[in-house]
């Protein structure tokens, strides 16, 4: 199954921002600083297990339940 990375990143942004566009942008920026730019992934991006584990850990750090 592909596309999981983008889906996870979008979920983090959505849940952290709760519809606030300012927080959505700052969350996206924070993820980029952590090494994950959502725009670099799409529904066809392969699911890299190591990257997925890192993103799950980032979600914990950001207080987001995936």
């Amino acid at each position: 199954m592909a596309g999981q990375i983008r889906k996870l990143l979008d979920t983090i942004i959505e849940k952290r921002s709760k519809g606030n566009p300012t927080i959505a942008l700052t969350t996206k920026t924070k993820l980029i600083f952590k090494g994950f730019d959502a725009d670099n992934f799409n529904a066809g991006s392969p699911d890299d297990p190591a990257a997925i584990e890192k993103i799950k850990a980032i979600a914990v750090d950001l207080g987001v339940r995936l």
Binding site: R16, T22, T29, K30, F33, D37, N40
Partner: protein, 367 residues
Amino acid sequence: MPIRVAYSANALPEALWDLTVKAGDCNPRVILFFASSKYDPAEVSRAMQAAFPEACVAGCTTAGEIADGKMLRDSISTIFLDDEIVGQTASALVEGLSSQVSVGGAFSKMERQLGAPVSSLDIEKYVGIVLADGLSGAEESLMEKIGDRTDLLFVGGSAGDDLKFAQTHVMLNGHAFTDAAVLLLLEVKNGFDIIKTQSFGTFGKTLVATKVDEPRRLVEEFDHQPALAAYARALGTPPTEAPSYFMKHPLGLMIEKDPYVRSPQRVQGEGIVFYCQIKQGMKLEVLEGTDIVAHTRSAIEARKASGKPISGIIDFQCILRALQLREEGRCDQYGAIFAGIPTVGFSTYGEAYLGHINQTSTMLVFQ
């Protein structure tokens, strides 16, 4: 006036007399000061707090100061914020940056001071200020931990020491610290904005960091090639000449077409050490320097054109920008951008806004 700025180049204690006189009848709730490393940091911090015992007093050492439209050296610049500008205030210290960054204790302390969890604070009404030891090498981790903890915006800079690169200090409530960061949370009654401005365009080349040593801020390879050679190739110059391009051609982490600058510092072997971390896999634009004065003026004019008032500005400006302005003989032109606006700031060893960045001015604008 709810905001006053002042500076003095005198030695202590005369400098404090100068600042006290210039504070006038201002009854500050918060004072931020930026002091040349020529002053004993413990002494200046103690003296500032003693002169204004009722205020929250925080500051740091610098690589130059900004006040009253002037770019200064060997002085203390200060901003006084009274209770027309600032409501609730909280402050805390994060210590031991170089061993492991932990902000939980500092945030808990600030929450006790505010009587509310930080998560409950309105991001439009509260802003954070961060002053970090500029030689800790830990600013990235600090900003990351802060950003994990809260959506409140923190802006600030890394303390300097007049380009000696020996020891920098942050100061809070009469004391001075190394290997630490000062965090402030301010309720800004009339609102605020943050301006991040850096004077670069894109050069049309990108580099992907494929092998890095993050804690050392070292990129060993771009695009699976030795980093120095790859950087040089992007600029069309021999690797031996590449260091002369560092200042004008840093790299940019592009976020919504806005560069967050990563400045090359020095060559190490076949790699390049930067002034901030680059993560494995980061795609970076090669940037090209433009006119600092014109760009900054444009940013301030755009803010003025918004129609919102400007009561004062704190300018956390990269020392690399200050050095370029000094070299170009344009410090007066830069200062003139802020004519009529109470402005204070300092030349930093790095700027803070969502992360740790370089060759940028991050400004806190009080409405």
